[in-house]
Symmetry: D2
Subunit: 260 residues, 4 copies
């Protein structure tokens, strides 16, 4: 049955000019836009998809935020992993319901949201970062989005290793992920997947070398270019600006080679 | 605890020259490769990630197939939705554990695998196709991959509508998806997402027009270009060939506009 | 023998922080930058490639402007044809020394610069535009760049036709280039090339249809994506932003089909 | 006045199914195609753009080859520089009529054709290669295309330097172009441009470092991605396959820094 909007819900407001705002609904509060005020009380008890009008009469659509909305609206202390890249990470690593995943470092928690979303309702994500400040910001972002029960946070440097064993996937989001290959190898089960995202080709080369030395197989490096299309009757074309680069994505799988 | 390979398991064999084979393990069977024979009996009871040797002594790594492996290895009667596109569909629609999703048509079931994987363990995917032949092939592919319990299959044309109401997502993988916008609108809950993939600009334009007429919001059209990088110490470069186009991805969300 | 910088020369100044400025050298003038003043008198008599210092001691390199520099620095009243697209137009149409080329419309003259540069020293470019204002701005840009002797300018709408016959190339830079196909066909010699640039795929489709109807052969549509790479020791990567779209390029060649 | 096809001309034949063939016209010769025979005698005296029929009645259009046609049809002993890349090299270096250009190495002469075409009728291209075999093949390709009078060929390794001074442009098409930076710097006039094309990131990084050390300014690295569009009424889309990578293009300009 369709869910009614309630106090405490995070909702995505979509303006007639296609701007979006992620707000938490509270009694007797107002939200100011470039179209005047919206009253939270007008939203409570409505259905997702319904309309609320601003004080100047503009219709705003009330939507339940998607994973992507939540990822793009995290409070950022760092560069985030973008949805285009997170989508490929999910598909290539095959993260799914019930899996156990290690992530290091935390970033701002955008990728953690994607991982937690994918392992729900009964998997688990273990997030490591040596910077307590980043870890706490990521944690606050995860909890605000309602995924806190799926994630554990630990302040630790990657070279000290991870506590978990036989995990399905390790995501290394570090400037020097080769420093984490040993820890990842110990934490992964046989056939488990490692993923990483890196801005420069130099880092890619060094990580791929470390993965080969550690016996990983099916090592691949990819880059996702996303093109937005402006579709309008009789005048459709790609947008004039695009993101030219976020990062290279590196994948590998752990093999259990016999000891020499 | 690491899982042992058992009779009936689908496993992915990875050769030393990076070829992959998806096989179902059976007693007393052999698998022929360009490196000679592999004995299934040598695989049974081993751990995922371990090695089996061919009759010529070549090491093959035994891996549990990822979602992507399964998608790429479906028996194809049609063009499939590629992992790069399925990844973005998952992220943009926010499909997750427990959701209810309608897909029309079935294709060869590659995208159905991704949807079923994402709604597991307790969501549901309803797949419609007017061609029984395609539907049954997709169904066989889904069941072979172990996702059959999450999916229902119905032979029906999109213009006859869907049985479900208040679903979270509708994926239209049809040459004329505008014919399915009415059915999708009735099936979706408020705030529910529609996604489609189309090869030509002309189809994009026509679908976007239909979505706007039906009151959808946050309509977007995107294209994913995937670039493979050949990462080798001292000589890293993009691959010389790439897929130039699979399809444009179109997204929208259902608003509950008041009746006039 | 290396040329000395003289009064009246256009020179490109390149700052230590990689900004560029196109100036015309004049006696007793100063040029103001974010690094203080540069004295024109310091430049006169120097060699191209030499350094002039600003009042704050910053070194500016004095360069002779390339075709691209001139194209990017035209006074713009319209969108220009970018160097990446002009380069492909030159190569695909094979415009060279001594050829005769018709261009319609004038834009801001950026593409005219490329055409004039390519037909020098003894070819000719005929530029048509129905808007005198645009034509005169283009003309001023061409003359300022020193290509005026190679180009004729005519105020006229494309549907009234071109005066020239047996030209080698016609470039149609119009929103409705199909209106110019008849004029272009009459102006071109057998085997002559037509080129056009258009932002939307709808326009492309319509032009290609008109070219096919007019008997053109080797019709092709292309798009150039240009990626800038930030090359630095140990941390090389593509730039984070890029131009996602300027226009589609359409090419065809005139065949002399026998009259029916 | 339109030129008639004569014995000895190179002409491009375009078949009804869009295949192209570059042939040299000779008396009493036949040319075999998948549509039967074409008689050279039927071509002699015709105009470019006119039609010749095969023995099975298929119409072939006789065209004068463009620069691109000639580049793509050189006899290849090596990888060639593609037209998309040559176009950008011409635009970025501003090579034009009357300029003097050094190229090292020769490749198969495809880029030499573009350079010779651009400096015509009174410029000059000096081509160096340490492999006589490649140099002679390039030379034969250049002469066959009618550009021989504009080009000189010299067997020599780049580290031995070039004979020319004050040239406008140096194009280094070598696996180790940093070995040619010193020779290029000596050969270039102040403000002269250097260009290079390299397949790997590692080579780019090393060349850029060498150019910076040698005092070059306006150093840029670029990559051209070319997308072919299949434009058809009602079903226009990008082609499904594309070239993913040819090379990175590196550009710089020589500054005359004062001696320390």
């Amino acid at each position: 049955m369709p869910k009614q909007i309630a106090v405490g819900d995070q909702i995505l407001l979509c303006s007639p000019d296609r701007k979006t705002f992620l707000i938490t609904v509270a009694t007797d509060r107002t939200f100011s836009t470039h179209h005047g005020q919206l009253l939270h009380n007008d939203m409570i008890g409505k259905l997702y998809g319904e309309i609320v009008h601003s004080s100047t009469g503009q219709p705003y659509v009330m939507l339940d935020p998607t994973l992507e909305d939540r990822m793009m609206k995290v409070k950022r202390l760092t560069q985030i992993i973008y949805p285009k890249d997170a989508g490929l990470i999910l598909i290539k690593t095959g993260i799914g319901s019930g899996m156990r995943v290690v992530e290091c470092g935390a970033g701002s928690g955008a990728s953690t949201l994607a991982l937690a979303h994918a392992v729900a309702p009964n998997g688990r994500v273990y997030v490591y970062d040596r910077e307590e400040r980043f870890l706490r910001n990521a944690q606050a972002n995860i909890e605000r989005a309602g995924y806190g029960h799926l994630v554990e946070f630990k302040v630790r440097d990657v070279v000290e290793g991870f506590d978990e064993r036989d995990v399905d996937v390790v995501l290394l989001d570090l400037p020097s992920p080769w420093e984490g290959v040993e820890a990842a190898t110990r934490a992964l089960r046989g056939g488990g997947r490692l993923a990483s995202i890196l801005p420069t080709y130099n880092q890619v080369e060094r990580l791929v070398e470390a993965l080969e030395a550690a016996g990983f197989v099916m090592i691949e490096t990819l880059e996702v270019l996303l093109r937005h299309i402006l579709a309008r009757p009789g005048k459709t074309r790609p947008f004039e600006r695009m993101i030219g680069h976020t990062g290279f994505l590196i994948f590998g799988r752990k093999a259990l080679w016999p000891s020499p």
